[in-house]
């Protein structure tokens, strides 16, 4: 099931390429401009921003699986998938895993570029940073599935997902340190899963250390949304999703 979602990615390779290019351009032009403006003692903003961009990107990409699932439900492909001999638990974990793997594969080229820019400490730091990214992707995927199955109309679905995406990625420490945020954002930002991922990825890459509270936060995020996703998913489906 997970493989199916991953293979979807390879059917449209041009998306990876164009998005990758766009990312590099944005990273260098924008970050360079901004890092000239924001001067924080002891903080290299370019490095900060580079890691953050990767994290923010993976968060938005992981939302895509929700659109896939919503579409499948509308086209009835879900009905078919549900008759296959797979348990519901395997099914939802497979889907979320597929979505997360897909996002990770997609992000790896950018991630490696950034890791080199940061001058990563050792191979392990790459792994542990990837782990944070993966957890984030897994959780966001779960969240996206939850929304996909709890919202009825396609329009509302688009709006809700876009808002969530905005809230989760902008309201986080991925791109800017808390000090630069408006007050109302800075209150929530420390609790955003994207912040957890960004902070722990930075901790791993820039000088190898593990940001344990952040990782714990990520794991909690994953568990909550996979659980919610699964619960909503099957209640909706078995009652008949389209009317």
């Amino acid at each position: 099931m997970a493989l199916r979602d991953v293979s979807v990615l390879f059917r449209t390779p041009w998306i990876i390429i164009t998005r990758g290019l766009a990312f590099v351009i944005q990273l260098f032009v924008f970050a360079y401009l901004i890092s000239g403006l924001i001067l924080v003692p002891g903080l290299n903003f370019f490095q900060y921003y580079a890691v953050g961009s990767v994290v923010a990107t993976i968060a938005s990409i992981s939302f895509v699986i929700g659109y896939d699932i919503f579409e499948e439900a509308e086209e009835g492909v879900l009905d078919y998938l549900l008759t296959l001999p797979i348990s519901r638990r395997q099914f939802i974990i497979g889907r979320a895993l597929g979505g997360a793997l897909r996002a990770i594969i997609y992000i790896i080229p950018m991630f490696l570029v950034v890791a080199f820019i940061e001058g990563f400490a050792q191979p392990l730091s790459i792994l542990s940073a990837l782990l944070s990214l993966f957890l984030l992707a897994f959780g966001v995927t779960g969240m996206s599935i939850t929304v996909a199955v709890s919202v009825k109309s396609a329009n509302r679905f688009d709006v809700v997902l876009a808002l969530l995406e905005l809230a989760v990625s902008r309201g986080s420490t991925a791109l800017y340190p808390i000090a630069f945020m408006p007050l109302y954002v800075s209150v929530f930002a420390p609790f955003s899963p994207v912040s957890f991922a960004a902070d722990s990825a930075r901790a791993s890459l820039v000088g190898f250390s593990l940001d344990l509270p952040a990782i714990a936060g990520l794991v909690a995020f994953v568990v909550v949304f996979l659980g919610l996703g699964a619960a909503f998913y099957f209640r909706r489906l078995e009652g008949g999703i389209y009317s």
Partner: protein, 309 residues
């Protein structure tokens, strides 16, 4: 063995299926015959664990569809009414993926089976074509092929020959029969009389979510009294009264749809002149007369009060 015990499914305030009870024996071909909206698809999707019944129980080989869905899924394969195939995949990819998910066959065995089924369904030439480029009929054949290649112990086909041309229909019927001959239990939903009559050993007539009758086609025909039907077309049926003909003892029932009168009777050849006479003297103009044996269509009419086509 599949048992529906007072099964029901409500969508909002609509009873798509209500108080439905039937037992489907191993190795039989059961036809579910009913008009659009009768509840056939809902019945099948409940059996296939996609929808949860809102009342009653359904069990498949002793496994409850709600409590042991995983066991049920291992037994059943459903060919959907609207093809559920990933448009970007080719026919052979669709079938290969389906086999990968539903069976333990290795790659070689999968390829062999996919090739076999594509060839028998006349899809081999088009095996590499992406399914979204296919015509409705071809897509439908790919959908049927999923189950024909899987050979599940319970095979469900939801209107398997809708949109198919005549040669393809015959082909699909033949392959469905072969599937049964190899031991599968087969359930076919249809709104086509000929399909129900030619394919199924037992026909369950479904109307408005309820089971109306279930017998072999022959037994069903036997339930229509008289065994013969006289079809009369009048040029104006608005003044016609059924009682005019009911006074003949050989006439068992009279049904009317606009200008068309159906008289269920026996000894039709003897009675025909008398009926024509009666109608003529009352001033009705008869446009056509047809006397025939009772067909499944007539059975359907007597049970549901409506015609299918």
């Amino acid at each position: 063995m599949i048992t529906f015990d007072n099964a029901g499914k409500r969508f909002g305030n609509l009873d798509a299926v209500k108080d439905f009870s039937i037992t489907i024996k191993d190795g039989e071909i059961l036809g579910l015959l009913g008009p659009n909206g009768a509840g056939k698809t809902t019945l099948m999707l409940m059996m296939g664990t996609v929808y949860r019944p809102t009342s009653g129980t359904i069990s498949v080989n002793g496994y409850d569809v709600v409590k042991q869905p995983n066991e049920v899924r291992k037994l059943i394969g459903i060919a959907f009414q609207d093809p559920r195939v990933d448009g970007i995949l080719s026919a052979s990819d669709v079938l290969n993926w389906h086999l990968k998910m539903t069976t333990l066959f290795d790659k070689v065995e999968r390829r062999r089976r996919v090739e076999d089924v594509l060839k028998s369904l006349d899809l081999w030439e088009a095996r590499k074509k992406r399914t979204w480029l296919m015509s409705g009929g071809m897509k439908k054949k790919v959908e049927d092929a999923k189950i024909l290649v899987q050979r599940p112990s319970i095979a469900v086909f939801d209107e398997p020959t809708a949109f198919l041309d005549v040669p393809s229909r015959l082909l699909v019927w033949k392959m469905i029969r072969q599937l049964r001959d190899e031991g599968s239990t087969v359930i076919v939903a249809t709104n086509m009389m000929d399909e129900a009559e030619r394919l199924s050993e037992r026909v369950a007539i479904v109307n408005k979510g309820r089971l109306v009758a279930s017998e072999t086609p022959e037994q069903l025909k036997g339930t229509v009294k008289g065994g013969e039907v006289l079809e009369l077309t009048l040029n104006d049926g608005s003044e016609f009264k059924a009682d005019l003909l009911r006074e003949f003892p050989e006439v068992h029932d009279v049904k009317q749809q606009d200008n068309k009168i159906m008289v269920f009777l026996n000894s039709g050849t003897l009675l025909l002149p008398k009926i024509v006479d009666t109608l003529s003297t009352r001033g009705f103009k008869i446009e056509s007369v047809r006397l025939k044996e009772v067909s499944l269509e007539d059975v359907f009419l007597t049970y549901t009060g409506q015609r299918l086509e």
